[in-house]
Symmetry: none
Subunit: 502 residues, 2 copies
């Protein structure tokens, strides 16, 4: 078969798979927003049928034949041409899919689905003993998966590579070490400061409908296209792309806490802006897909924190917030801005501030690595958890539910996933620095309601590239150097020394 | 292969197909309720991919082999046993599917999805010229489909048979003739009567939220399970089943017109009750599926009209309506009941009263038949439409949007479908008569809020049978005689002579 023909057939086949898979994305969105209570059993059967179909398609031997016909062809000569990018990633995905025996894939799907249900039931009851067998089974299967996928140094690397292609534990360790040192020093100075924000103002009454209206006003002002998306309430917020022109956000509103609804929206919007900025003509191919979870998270954290928690942003939007919530009329802009940036070591990752957040992630990373090296047994997790929380954050949980059982991730088999959250923060600060070098200081623009220049810069440099480069290469290409913790530490030191006055 | 094994494999394969197809039902629901504006192009591609997949599965040669292994087996001896019913319908569907080339199936899915979107945009602008090319394409493809499916006398019969298995144009003509004669006579007497209801009371102010709350109260009171369904607003109301435990309704609320929201809800709820009453253990097989669109419509029209527009029903619910809408406090129950049963020839089918409704359908039937016999060109539809409306109803549209462009059906490829609406009315009256023979007069029970006995009768006699019998055989089995227009005419004459006093 001529390479051109092989490419055309491969492209058609993979696009078709992508269209079918995107029905699953819609079903996942519906399951977490709209589905009636009694519809869940059927939904699970729909997912199972789709998973069987997609597994068959992803291991279809014709993919191997088409790839073979493309080997060494001029079509894939230039490694950054669309065709070469797609072939590179399709090959990677195909080889990975072939390495996972169907038995393991099915067992993993079953075990994680059961563990998620067990977690949901065990967490409110703080029933660690009841949950542990499920976690052990998932862990054992993930270890088996790592062996099946293969690795050079660490079994853990095989999983990390799923979420952040090319990333290795060896590379993460110095990055986390630098962060830990810098964040600990910063945290010490913050906790030693006499200044304290009044966070009680964030716990006044914020009606749900008002929050929703304000959230939508923000989306429109920041450049999110609501004609190509939606914003709905849900229990555990997420962003999901059904297809180009259909990128959906969710958030949750607490009437007695300002941050959850608004910053949750800005976070998911960051993900959504990335998805809306991917090249639609390449939809359904790697060239048109997000490059990694770390880069994805960099976009959500940028809009949530670097933009959304900046003083300039609230110079523009605080009067609007006061119009929606007259309860805030007696609170100054400065006091509000300080409150939404309060730093306080706490137990729950998803509620953590910008300074302590990455220490939560560091703990997850160290524990996961120890588990995969068989240096830590799952039954000893709570002990190790408590030790590390005391050492890094100075707090420790009194129960399991606010400790080792706080996240659903491990139940769902998401091991090797947490580090992408910190990578997101690291990339975000590094990208933002570069954007300011190109565009000048951005906050003054934010204060004028001007977000287009920065979004445009992100579109050109990051979004439109899709998976053209591997994540590390993308960071190097955009910023001129490999990922570094320095920019995140610089940003946090500058911001919080000003707020806390040291 | 042993017949038992063939049946097991066939069952598994068809169920899997049904699970995949039900993702399409979810996508269809979403397309008409939730999808963002710019998501439509991608949705059309999703439908096309799913159509290709389903067509492949429905024409999979293994189905032929399994069916062959079952030929003459004791498993299919008793024609009304579950296995025999499923094999009979699977065989029919397989043979039909084989006749449709994949190219045609895919083109139809795409063309109808595009035509629906075009219709939605063109109708408000009254842009018949802009819409016509889409309609022509759909019509051409449907003619091609009819030829591919095959027929004895009329190409039209091939399509009719899709919606009402076994029905032929030849059988519909005398039924429509009898109806036309009876309805014209009744209409003459009504229009000649001095009594007139005051319909202006239905055009007072009915806030949307109140209508929605009232609609949901009615659903619960009548036996619809809202934990196994939803009610959402949409532009063009419909009912759709995602799976057992997930049967969704939609309606539309006009704040200045009472009927649309409430009777729309009752209509769709009738469809929903049928779906919720199908045997869930047979989901994904013909034994667990609705038997025909005519029988489906009989259930919606029963709850909308025979129940929902009865005097007994409003003896129970009019005080509730007055509580939701104090605007009605000065209107008597009798005046309200007369108003919601006002007869008036009008342009819009979905707003038509019980007497004139079937004349709208007759017009669609005659036009469709003429289109399929090539006696009418699509560009001449508006003219033919106006002529018939003047002749049968004494009114004619001044624009396209209230004329030939009023329904989405043709855009969606639903040709040969309209007659099932009239069949639904015919079956409904015939079933209801039989239910009263078994249970005694029902209205007194409705007045006491007692709907369970009638719903239970419908469940036992109609819903739980799924597709065990062909539609005509089901009607005969339940009522002891073939479908007849007599019961509908009797019911209408009785009801409207009392209301209009002749």
């Amino acid at each position: 078969m001529r390479p051109e023909e092989a490419y055309t057939r491969l492209l058609e086949f993979q696009r078709e798979t992508a269209y079918l898979a995107s029905l699953g994305a819609l079903a996942a969105w519906d399951q977490r927003t709209m589905i009636p209570k009694k519809g869940h059993a059927h939904r699970a059967m729909q997912f199972a049928a789709l998973a069987r179909l997609l597994h068959q398609r992803r291991t279809d031997p014709r993919i191997g034949e088409w790839l073979a016909a493309l080997e060494g062809s001029p079509l894939v000569q230039d490694p950054h041409a669309d065709e070469a990018v797609n072939v590179r990633e399709w090959k990677r995905a195909y080889e990975k899919a072939l390495r996972i025996p169907e038995r393991l894939a099915v067992e993993l799907a079953q075990a994680t689905s059961e563990a998620e249900t067990a977690w949901e039931e065990a967490r409110p009851k703080d029933d660690w003993k009841g949950f542990l067998p499920y976690l052990k089974r998932v862990l054992a299967l993930k270890k088996e998966e790592a062996e099946a996928l293969g690795y050079e140094k660490e079994p853990y690397d095989a999983l990390l590579d799923e979420y952040e292609p090319g990333m290795r534990a060896e590379e993460l360790k110095p990055l986390f070490a630098e962060l830990r040192e810098g964040l600990a020093a910063l945290l010490d100075r913050i906790l030693g400061s006499a200044r304290r924000p009044d966070t009680s103002i964030l716990h006044r009454h914020f009606p749900k409908e008002k929050q929703e209206a304000f959230a939508k006003e923000l989306l429109l002002a920041l450049g999110y296209d609501l004609e190509a998306g939606r914003l709905d309430p849900t229990a555990h917020p997420f962003e999901i792309s059904i297809g180009p022109g259909d990128v959906r956000l969710t958030t949750r509103y607490y009437e007695d806490f300002f941050n959850a609804g608004i910053f949750g929206t800005l976070h998911e919007m960051g993900h959504g802006l990335y998805e809306q900025g991917l090249p639609p003509e390449h939809w359904g191919t790697p060239r048109g897909e997000a490059v990694s979870l770390g880069v994805h998270e960099s976009q959500s954290r940028t809009w949530e924190n670097l933009v959304g928690r900046s003083f300039g942003f609230w110079r523009r939007f605080y009067p609007r917030a006061q119009a929606y919530f007259p309860e805030l009329l007696d609170v100054s802009l400065e006091a509000f801005h300080f409150a939404i940036n309060a730093v306080e070591p706490s137990l729950i990752r998803v509620e953590a501030d910008e300074v302590t957040y990455n220490l939560h992630i560091l703990i997850r990373f160290e524990l996961e690595l120890a588990l995969f090296r068989n240096e830590l047994a799952p039954e000893d997790l709570p002990l190790a958890w408590g030790e590390r929380y005391r050492a890094y954050l100075g707090v420790a949980p009194r129960d399991y539910r606010d400790g080792v059982m706080q996240d659903v991730h491990w139940s769902g088999g998401l091991l090797g996933y947490f580090p992408t959250y910190t990578l997101g923060n690291v990339y975000a600060a590094q990208f933002f620095k570069k954007a300011e070098e190109a565009l000048g200081p951005l906050e003054e623009g934010f204060a004028q309601g001007e977000f287009g220049a920065f979004l445009d810069w992100s579109r050109r440099n990051i979004h439109r590239e899709g998976s053209r480069f591997r994540p590390k290469a993308l960071v190097e290409r955009v910023t001129g150097e490999p990922p570094s913790a320095r920019y995140l530490l610089d940003y946090l030191n500058r911001k919080f020394s000003a707020l806390y006055g040291f």
